[in-house]
């Protein structure tokens, strides 16, 4: 795996998360329509993005910490089991979300976004990128033509900088998509498009989690 691709994948997953109406852009649009101001759409974005970043950051941090203390194989199996179980559970028993409220401030929105990202397992989807064994950087083959060839693309980084950089890259993708869709729907498309375009992304999402769980074992 080249060093560039994991970053692109993490950025791409940010975009994928951003598209999901349940991840925030729709809430931003609704708040804008409720107040009949574009400013309300824009005002909703920072807390929504912050909540998402906190949620995925927490999961990545957990994996990075576990990576230090757990044997690589145990970590892989544990991660696979969690993803697999979570994906299947959400696939077959998607509990009704129980947040009720349109009158939300910065704190409320941050918390909401954190809950939504966590309940959807947004961070879990990123787990495979951080499972690379810390030993990988030492098994780097001398004489390789490409300096960036590693078992894991992230092996060059220290834990804190890897955490910061990956959260930043993912969140940037997420922010761009959330903002783009929110503004586009608020200004141009209108919420009527929901009826046609809101395919069951949760279904794809949960299948993706389940497959990722299986995939980890073969990494």
């Amino acid at each position: 795996m080249s060093g560039f691709w994991p970053w692109l994948a993490i950025f791409g997953l940010g975009i994928f998360h951003g598209i999901n109406p349940a991840m925030g852009w729709l809430f931003a649009v609704a708040l804008g329509l409720q107040e009949q101001k574009r400013a309300a759409v824009l005002r909703a974005l920072p807390p929504i993005v912050l909540g998402h970043a906190l949620s995925i950051g927490l999961i990545i941090a957990a994996v990075l910490v576990a990576r230090i203390s757990l044997p690589h194989r145990a970590l892989k199996i544990a991660a696979a089991a969690i993803l697999f179980a979570f994906g299947l559970y959400r696939l077959f028993r998607s509990r009704h979300p129980n947040w009720v409220g349109m009158r939300v401030g910065f704190g409320d929105l941050t918390l909401w976004s954190f809950i939504m990202a966590s309940a959807h397992g947004a961070g879990l989807m990123l787990v495979p990128f951080f499972l690379g064994s810390p030993a990988a950087q030492f098994t780097h083959q001398v004489g390789s033509h490409n300096r960036h060839e590693h078992v894991s693309g992230f092996a060059n980084f220290s834990t804190p900088s890897l955490l910061t950089a990956s959260v930043a890259v993912h969140t940037l993708g997420y922010l761009l998509m959330t903002a783009l869709v929110a503004i586009l729907v608020y200004e141009k498309l209108g919420v009527g498009m929901l009826r046609r375009a809101w395919f069951n992304i949760d279904l794809v999402w949960m299948l993706a989690l389940t497959f990722t769980g299986g995939f980890i074992l073969f990494l």
Binding site: P21, A22, L26, F27, V29, A30, L33, Q34, Q36, S94, H96, P97, N98, W99, V100, G101, M102, R103, V104, W112, V191, G192, L194, R195, R196, W198, F199, N200, D202, L203
Partner: protein, 464 residues
């Protein structure tokens, strides 16, 4: 199974819901008249003008036990599933939640694949409702952002308090009481909400013990029936404010908030004023973050020959309008008002909610008038305009004629009959009977009507 695209009957906004295709079927709650041994039923009436059986009953599902008294009912899911904070748009609007008001038994009825052949798929027994909620006599059903909300008139022993409990919208499990803090609220009837303002409002009728043996004149004259509305924090499930309409305003029933979630007002109907037997519609509205009330419509009692009045009304020499139901079109433009006593059905333009303008009126039935339907002009009708439902496109209005079994006998002692009619509404106001549409039932009394795909009192919206 979850759907791949949102249920096609879900609309983000009331404006978009008005573009929905016309309904083909109406589901009608049908109860067994006292003295009869029939089980209650849910009827399916064909309302598709293209169909040869239009205006006829084409299906029926009978309840498993005797004596439910079906009354109001509603859908498992609706447009509120698109709300942005709790989106779950891939559930299906498919099941009708049909409670027995007397038995407290709740039936879950599947309307698919063939709406003419609905089937009971689950029955929640009264003991389960009592044990899990400490409520009884389930009434209004609203599908909402947190699942299915059910109002209940009282406690299992027939006293108060009444309130709201929750059902899971997929498993129909009884989840428990909704309220975290009910404050001074005791009596209960209807409820609905302003999703854009995180506010729920509820109204007051009476406890089961105050109503199940008929309207009690001593309680009425003593102002013991409900005369308040309650404002609740929908998110925190707490009582916020009680709004008193005054002791003389007795029985504050159906609540119709503006469908547009950016508007913070709505209408509630009052059955009778002790001062002059008039009925009224009140506007609730938000001003400076508190809620306030204003009477915006008053319908006076009509003088009548005591000979033609039931014993309870003879001394008054007048027939009260007895406003029992109201309904608001999805564009928040027209308010419909049923006067079950006088047999008048009214239409008001409420574009300016503080100043409604009367734009239409028809008469049918009535305690004194007994006005016939145009299809059978020689047949005097008992009962009067009662449960009213408006199609999503606001062009058709349906209503039925019975109120509540024990009360029907008091106001129409010679029999209330059973009929359902349809009106057509003009774009800019005006209503007229569809002269061909007149559904009678010899077996049952018909009550609430729900329309295929949703109607003007089934859905709530998070987008304007």
């Amino acid at each position: 199974m979850p759907l791949l695209k949102p249920d096609p009957t879900f609309y983000p906004s009331p404006r978009l819901a008005m573009q929905a295709p016309p309904e083909r079927y109406a589901f009608v709650a049908a109860l067994n008249p006292p003295g009869n041994k029939l089980h209650d039923a849910l009827l399916v009436v064909d309302v598709d003008p293209e169909s040869r059986s239009c205006g006829q009953q084409v299906g029926e599902v009978t309840m498993p036990q005797f004596g439910d008294e079906l009354h109001h009912f509603g859908w498992n899911a609706c447009s509120s599933a698109l709300c942005p904070y709790a989106p779950h748009p891939h559930v299906e609007r498919r099941y009708l939640v049909v409670p027995g008001l007397r038995s407290s038994r709740i039936h879950i009825i599947d309307t698919k694949p063939n709406p003419r052949k609905p089937k009971i798929v689950k029955v929640i027994e009264p003991e389960e409702v009592f044990a899990r909620t400490n409520y009884s006599r389930p009434h209004t059903i609203h599908c909402g952002p947190e699942g299915i909300y059910v109002s209940a008139l009282g406690a299992p022993n027939g006293d108060g308090p009444g309130g709201i409990f929750m059902l899971d919208c997929e498993t129909f499990e009884v989840l428990g009481q909704w309220e975290v803090n009910r404050g001074p609220q005791f009596l209960h009837y209807d409820f609905w909400w302003h999703l854009g303002f995180d506010t729920l409002l509820s109204s007051e009728w009476g406890t089961p013990n105050m109503i199940e043996n008929g309207l009690q004149p001593d309680l009425l004259l003593g102002s013991k029936y409900g005369h308040q509305m309650h404002v609740w924090d929908l998110r925190r499930r707490r009582h916020v404010q009680a709004l008193d309409l005054g002791n003389e305003q007795q029985m504050v029933l159906e609540m119709r908030p503006a469908h547009d979630p950016t508007k913070a007002y709505g209408f509630v109907g009052v059955v009778v004023s002790l001062k002059d037997l008039s009925a009224s519609v009140w506007l609730w509205h938000r001003s400076n973050s508190a809620w306030d009330l204003k009477k915006v419509i008053e319908v006076p009692a009509e003088p009548a020959d005591p000979e033609k009045l039931p014993p309870m009304l003879k001394d008054f020499k007048a027939v009260p309008p007895l406003m029992s139901d109201i309904n608001l079109s999805l564009d928040d433009k027209f308010l419909y008002v049923s006067c079950w006593g006088t047999g008048e059905f009214l239409q008001y333009d409420v574009s300016d909610p503080f100043n409604p303008k009367k734009t239409g009126s028809v008469r049918i039935g009535g305690i004194v008038n007994r006005t016939p339907h145009p299809k059978k002009p020689d047949q005097p009708l008992a009962g009067g305009p009662q449960m009213v439902e408006v199609s999503r496109d606001a062009k058709r209005i349906y209503f039925t004629n019975s109120l509540y079994a024990a009360w029907d006998e008091q106001f129409y002692p010679d029999g209330v009959g059973s009929w359902m009619v349809k009106l057509d509404a003009g774009r800019d106001g005006g209503i007229a009977f569809d002269e061909d549409f007149f559904v009678e039932s010899n077996d049952y009394r018909v009550h609430q009507v729900r329309l295929e795909g949703g109607d003007s009192s089934s859905d709530s919206f998070c987008f304007p």
